[in-house]
């Protein structure tokens, strides 16, 4: 609650004062498909291009063909779908201590936030018309459409809060739908694969687009386990079972033999959960 109070105060202060934020870079546009636009505070709207410096209170808008990705100083990223409007309301980050806070507003469209240092401390929030979304972790996809605001937990602890209540998502793969600020957030539900597939298409380039950086035709990444290539990205795949019953059988036979021969016997700490 304290975080939301602080966010509210910050928003109120910025709205009341109307003072342009210092033009301090908080991130970079790392990929841009046209047409995407930026509106720095107190300046005119211009096309967004790769490498553009993102500053406080900057508004990013994408058209029906536009998508973009922003990377921030704390290593978090925002992937922005077509027809989306986002404002970077606040971004304070001290790289030495790793502390600060981030607040963005999504008023239209869809985005995926992939967490960095600030969200790992629970200091990242995204405001929407129907709810404030607090992120600890974490990776979250937020969609605004005619049926409400949809918040999908992709990793981490996601808190959905509005004027009517709070719902917390602890598990990836669950979503909450919120109709309005004065309607309690819904109960967590499993997100469907079809919905995730649809969002995956929305949140990256179309096959004919290149994000503003041409020339990437191939990558040489070794999949985990393939000899001779480098990649530490290994899934935690199931290992060979270590309790196939053989060890238990050996112990039973051993104790049987010792007992059967007239010697002593023994059993052991077989198995385990």
């Amino acid at each position: 609650m304290r975080a939301y109070g602080m966010i509210a105060v910050l928003l109120a202060m910025s709205a009341l004062t109307g003072i342009p934020a210092a033009a301090q870079q908080v991130g970079t546009a790392t990929a841009v498909n046209p047409l995407s636009e930026r509106t720095p505070p107190g300046a005119a709207t211009v096309p967004l291009t790769v490498g553009a410096r993102i500053i406080h209170k900057e508004r990013i808008h994408t058209t029906p063909s536009g998508t973009a990705q922003l990377a921030f100083l704390d290593k978090s990223t925002l992937s922005i779908a077509p027809n989306t409007s986002v404002v970077i309301d606040e971004f304070v980050y001290d790289p030495n201590s790793g502390k600060g806070h981030m607040l963005a507003s999504l008023t239209q469209g869809a985005l995926r936030f992939v967490g960095g240092a600030l969200s790992h401390q629970g200091e990242a929030s995204i405001a929407t018309p129907a709810a404030a979304v607090g992120i600890r972790g974490g990776t979250v996809t937020i969609v605004i459409d005619r049926t409400g605001v949809h918040v999908i937990d992709q990793f981490g602890i996601i808190t959905i809060h509005n004027g009517a209540g709070t719902t917390v998502l602890n598990r990836p793969g669950f979503e909450v739908t919120v109709l309005s600020w004065n309607t309690p957030p819904g109960q967590p539900e499993r997100v469907t694969l079809a919905e995730i597939d649809r969002l995956l298409v929305l949140l990256t380039s179309k096959p004919w687009q290149n994000g503003g950086v041409p020339g990437l035709h191939t990558v040489n990444i070794g999949a985990c386990g393939i000899l001779g290539l480098q990649s530490d990205n290994c899934p935690d795949t199931p290992w060979v079972p270590t309790d196939t019953g053989l060890n238990d059988a050996n112990q039973i036979i051993t104790q049987g033999t010792q007992q059967g021969t007239g010697t002593t016997v023994r059993t052991g700490p077989r198995g385990g959960p």
Binding site: Q209, V213, P214, T264, P269
Partner: protein, 447 residues
């Protein structure tokens, strides 16, 4: 002398545990370092991404470096690359694996499925992608079944774990020659079945059950024919930690075991336990405590078995984690205390085991091979001298075991499993000293 022997044992036991301890500490250390990557100045590679995002070489280097311990940062960077070329199957696959590691199985499924639809996908990547999709499909089910069925032939130099020829014991009794060390072949079959029901709540509560079966029929020494079935079941309750990187759950369970030996009912056990699961970074920790009421039945080959009946209490810690590319570790430390009806049969046992499973593939072949070396030691401290063996000596034994398993992929979910295992027991009672070499091979179906 007793004190000296105990000290010597403790030194040896500590020596055996040292490698496991080092592994755990190194893994904990590695996992503890991951968050600190966010504090302090960002790496030069990341600073270069902010300054020159179109520098593809830099972005690729950063993505590869971040994959090991900074999953989200790697995700952001690979998604950046996908903006530049959304038709790269390798990037989509990497993203799928990264989300899989986060437990975001829907998104992992979506990325890997889309990788399969890309024109540039290679046969080896397709095979790996299809394998991972199959795993994810199971994890997305409310009722999840996994398991294996295995059969094969085994040769053992000493299937009964009997001593070498020793016609007369210290007690003056004559040795039963049926249990001398003799080699034999056997046919064996084994299966394991795990069931998980996901209650789909935000705590991650589940109901879990497992069954393990093993049967071995000797070619000549039928006194060592054995059949074993063990069932475990219980609910697992998730406990919110407030930290998405740390899971915590607790599981009470019931365990029931039955065994036939020499084709006659031999052993039944019924009990329960409590286990906790948590993780530190990518190191999984599962401490447990279990108590089982054991009941043994006499038979013509084993006329004194009933004396083994009693209570067995076990306390242990299972741990596992990754070490590097495809290489992992798994260990179990345990302590058991048995109070048997026949006093001298009671004992304390300390045990430590370590496995180092290594999944690997050959270039151009997406199939996964697994090499699994293992080693373990148990120290048995019996309660009292057994007048049937040696009325003057309280038995003390140390068992060492080493093994090497290899799983060779044959066809889809079928592998050819081979195992070489050597056990050696040294004891202050000569009749307890034995050694056994086992070589087994056979197909295994995993599902």
């Amino acid at each position: 002398m007793q004190v000296e022997r105990r000290r010597a044992f403790l030194r040896r036991f500590a020596g055996a545990l040292a490698p496991i301890g080092l592994l755990v500490l190194s893994a904990l250390s590695a996992s503890a370092q991951a968050p600190s990557d966010f504090a302090g100045n960002p790496s030069p590679l990341f600073q270069a991404i902010l300054a020159r995002p179109s520098d593809l070489n830099n972005t690729l280097q950063y993505a590869a470096a971040a994959s090991a311990d900074d999953i989200e940062s790697a995700i952001g960077t690979y998604e950046q690359l996908l903006f530049y070329n959304p038709t790269l199957s390798r990037v989509r696959f990497e993203l799928g694996v990264l989300y899989f590691r986060l437990g975001s199985y829907e998104l992992a499924h979506s990325y890997i499925q889309s990788a399969l639809q890309m024109r540039d996908i290679t046969p080896d990547l397709r095979e790996r992608a299809e394998d991972l999709i199959a795993i994810i499909d199971k994890k997305l089910q409310v009722d999840q079944f996994t398991g294996y069925v295995q059969t094969g032939l085994a040769y053992q130099t000493n299937p009964g774990a009997g001593p070498g020829a020793q016609p007369v014991l210290a007690s003056g009794r004559t040795f039963n020659s049926s249990f001398f060390s003799k080699p034999d072949w056997n046919w064996f079959g084994a299966f394991g079945l795990n069931y998980v029901h996901d209650f789909e709540n935000q705590n991650g509560d589940t109901f879990e059950a497992s069954a393990v079966g093993y049967d071995a029929e000797e070619f000549r020494l039928h006194q060592f024919d054995i059949g074993l079935l063990e069932l475990r079941a219980g609910p697992r309750f998730g406990i919110p930690t407030g930290n998405p990187n740390t899971s915590l759950s607790i599981k009470p369970y019931l365990v029931a075991t039955g065994a036939l030996l020499a084709d006659a009912p031999y052993y039944g056990g019924l009990g329960g336990g409590l286990t906790v699961h948590t993780n530190v970074g990518r190191v999984a920790l599962d401490p447990y405590a279990e108590i089982v009421q054991q009941s043994f039945r006499n038979s013509s080959f084993y006329p004194l078995a009933r004396g083994l009946s009693g209570t067995l209490s076990t306390y242990g810690l299972q741990a596992s984690g990754p070490l590097s590319n495809g290489l992992g570790w798994q260990s179990r430390l345990g302590f058991g205390h048995a109070s048997d009806h026949y006093g001298p049969y009671g004992y304390d046992v300390y045990a430590a085991d370590l496995w180092l499973p290594w999944n690997f593939s050959f270039p151009g072949d997406g199939r996964v091979w697994t090499l699994n070396p293992s080693a373990g030691v148990s120290r048995w401290l019996y309660a009292a001298p057994d007048p049937n063996i040696d009325p003057a000596i309280t038995p003390r034994s140390t068992e060492w075991r080493v093994g090497l398993g290899l799983e060779v992929p044959i066809w889809k979910h079928v592998v050819l499993g081979t195992l070489v295992q050597y056990r050696a027991d040294r004891s202050n009672v000569p009749a307890f000293t034995m050694h056994d070499l086992q070589v087994s091979a056979g197909p295994t179906l995993k599902f």
